[in-house]
């Protein structure tokens, strides 16, 4: 193999690697999607075995507790589905982002207000509201953004 051929092959491989690297931003939307979906699917399913205890700890309304659990699971699944192909991907992303917001406002109102830092204290045993505000920000981001496709 002549040095020229080898250098051409090398540059072709380099080019392929560069194309992949430049193509990565196209898939970057999966990072916040998967992280937030993991949070909501985890907390949604976690509520079902202890739904009565969860209701008693919050507003003491069992149907509301079920609604919150279902909304959390639905938000997570919709955000995951919204990253896939198809006609309804965009509306799924927006709906998933929108569902997050009332659930998190409820959580802040019930447990976290007015502390900001997530570090728990005696008065705020599950910490302040910064995590929940971050989740609202991601929800708002996906609600405004949808799934833009070229």
């Amino acid at each position: 193999m002549s040095p020229e051929t080898r250098s051409v092959m090398h540059s072709e491989r380099e080019e392929a690697v560069m194309q992949t690297v430049q193509g990565l931003p196209v898939h970057a939307h999966w990072l916040p999607r998967v992280a937030v979906a993991a949070v909501f699917i985890f907390h949604g399913f976690q509520k079902f075995p202890y739904i009565d205890a969860y209701a008693a700890a919050t507003w003491d309304i069992v149907p509301l507790a079920y609604l919150v659990a279902y909304m959390e699971v639905a938000a997570g699944l919709l955000l995951l589905l919204g990253g896939m192909r198809g006609q309804y991907a965009d509306i799924a992303t927006r709906l998933g982002g929108l569902l997050i917001i009332p659930v998190m406002i409820g959580a802040i109102a019930k447990a976290h207000w007015p502390r900001f830092s997530f570090v728990p204290t005696e008065a705020f045993p599950i910490g302040g509201m910064e995590f929940q505000l971050t989740l609202i920000a991601v929800g708002l981001f996906f609600f405004l953004r949808g799934s833009p496709r070229p």
Partner: protein, 161 residues
Amino acid sequence: MRIRWTMVAQTASRPGFATRTLHFLRESTPAYADWPLRIMIAAVFLFHGISKLDDGVAGFADAMGLSIGLAWLVTLGEIAAGALVLVGGLVIPGAKTMSRFAGALVAIIMVGAIVKVHWPRWAFDPTDDFPMGGMEFQVVLAAIGLWFFATGGRLVKEVPR
């Protein structure tokens, strides 16, 4: 303002209304959609960076078992990430690079926090073994940071449908 419900009903029942609404939504992605993420990342990182300055960086270094130099690096890195992610949202030269740098700082500091404090618990509520809670908040922040690193905070279109 009086809502004319008959007109609303007429508009909604026109053929193709649902399709056109979906199409309208699909084509509307405002360029400012990244600002909720920027504002929250800045709030979280400026808050924790400046609190570390307030409470004393030496105390933070002791509590985490870090060297004093590394503790200062984390503190200044948090403040820099919070400031740069805001400046990176402006329409100025180098804004994308600033967003990428801020995102990289966020991801690195969060991986450090997870390894040092939160691993292997997931849920954020604290237990006796994990007084600072699990890693889910830090994972979400790291994911947002990596999104900023990969895209420069600009809205990149996804794969073609």
